[in-house]
Amino acid sequence: MQIGIFTVGDVTPDPVNGTTVTEHERIKNTVEIAKKSDDIGLDVFATGEHHNPPFVPSSPTTTLAYIGAQTKNLILSTSTTLITTNDPVKIAEDYATLQHLVDGRMDLMLGRGNTAPVYPWFGKDITKAVELTIENYQLLRKLWDEPVVNWEGKFRTPLQNFTATPAPLDGVAPFVWHGSIRTPEVAELAAYYGDGYFANNIFWPKEHYIRLINFYRQRYAHYGHGTAEQAIVGLGGQFFMRKNSQDAVNEFRPYFDVAPVYGHGPSLEDFTSQTPLTVGSPQQVLERTLEFADFFGDYQRQLFLVDHAGLPLKTVLEQLDLLGEILPTMREEFAKRRPANVPDAPTHTARVAARVAAAVDQEVTV
């Protein structure tokens, strides 16, 4: 089980002290948060991609490479890389470069983003979002998996005798997750290619996510990558912890009440009882997180949202300290319940080893 955090990269006024960090501070704070994640033993740090204020992360690979240079074990990822509006050629090259720089310690999650106006900013049509997702990803796969690409599609200039550079590290392309919460086509795409499927699991009751996760699992099996239980599933989650659960509620409420997305809406009590958000003690967070596996099946990656809504850097780092304290138990409990035939989350090292093993197997058979 890989456990980590994912950030939206929002610049939101702190409703308690009335200050707002600058974009510069937010970017530097993001790096601090990532480094802290490495220190406490988290497996993954993922950043969103946005092209409009109040968000700062418009250039994920730049930020991730910088973080990669200052961390040891952390897998660098995205949440999400926009497959609809980015040129697949540039995605192939940017992320392959990152893969070389961090020695394979990365992967990426593709998604469509949450901002409708982003499409025209990049010359794309939002009504074609699903078709763009499919065509762009099919091209991205070719660019990574085939040395020379001849390709023609609807949304981009054709490619003739094209080779994306650099080629993936060790000839193994970065692992791809597909993030979606309501589009069956994205789950189908993940299943067809045997990629990972991620449900953000933060803003809605968890029942909303089960349909597509189950669909993805079935289709993963249908395409012969393994059994439904062996499909690669990732989930989001969010918490605010203090040793004493009432302190957590008191401290988080002013942030919750005016937070982007759910602020000025349901009460903190309603939202925590109806969605995966947990505000309470580390023990409560631990128990709630372990319940995800009861509901969605044993899964491979858990990412938490910890740094949004204007929470100060100091508070975010304290949240990570608390997460670090329950981390060993969380890992142990997840491992204990996981059947032996359910795989770990893919890593570059493991995928290179699997390819070598497969090649040896083939030689023996021949």
Partner: protein, 202 residues
């Protein structure tokens, strides 16, 4: 027993996009119903009689014949152009001169054409209230066609909407309600879905 369908086209142009839509829906309805007799009436051809009926209070023979067809029809398909927010005056005059109870309980499919997609809700905001007043039984799917729908990109979507609406009409006529309910199943065979597992077919 043969089902009798009357299609009213209120398009004023010649040729008329509204008439094109009427023809497409008529063809789809024939297919959905199997054994159906479809008569298409173009109001443009009756413009004088409709105006006269408004002034005199009675319908001239040609117009009366159409009212008789409408009253004895098993179902109606109504296609109108949207001008300035609503259907054209000629169509309203046609309805105004018709008996108030002419189509009480008659299953009706509503369709409209418009110069821009911004008129899309005109079926719901202007046609449906009129047919509610007439106490007709209007099927849930209204078919709106903007210029975009006639282009190559939109044609399939328009045809799907038409088939859905005529499917509802056929089901109502067979006594099966609209025959529709919430769809839980993911459609594995849509063009988009099939394109995923055929990456080299494009």
């Amino acid at each position: 027993m043969t089902t009798r369908i009357v299609v009213i086209s209120a398009g004023l142009g010649e040729p008329s996009t509204t008439r094109m839509l009427a023809d497409k829906i008529a063809a789809s309805a024939s297919k959905a119903l199997g054994d159906a007799q479809v008569e298409i009436v173009t109001l443009r051809d009756l413009a004088h009689e409709i105006t006269d009926a408004g002034l005199t209070g009675f319908a001239a023979p040609r117009l009366q014949h159409v009212y008789d067809q409408v009253m004895s029809a098993d179902a109606l398909i109504v296609t109108v152009p949207i001008f300035k927010v609503s259907y054209p005056g000629l169509f309203k005059s046609f309805v105004d001169a018709m008996d108030s109870d002419a189509i009480v309980g008659t299953p009706v499919l509503l369709a409209a054409t418009g110069g821009t997609a911004r008129h899309s809700l005109a079926i719901e905001t202007s046609l449906r209230p009129l047919f509610a007043y007439l106490q007709a039984f209007v099927v849930p799917t209204g078919v709106f066609a903007s210029p975009h729908d006639w282009g190559s990109a939109g044609e399939n979507a328009l045809q799907r909407r038409i088939d859905r609406a005529t499917g509802e009409l056929a089901s109502v006529l067979r006594g099966g309600g609209t025959g529709r309910s919430r769809e839980e199943d993911i459609d594995l065979f849509s063009d988009t879905m099939l394109s995923i597992s055929n990456p080299d077919l494009r």
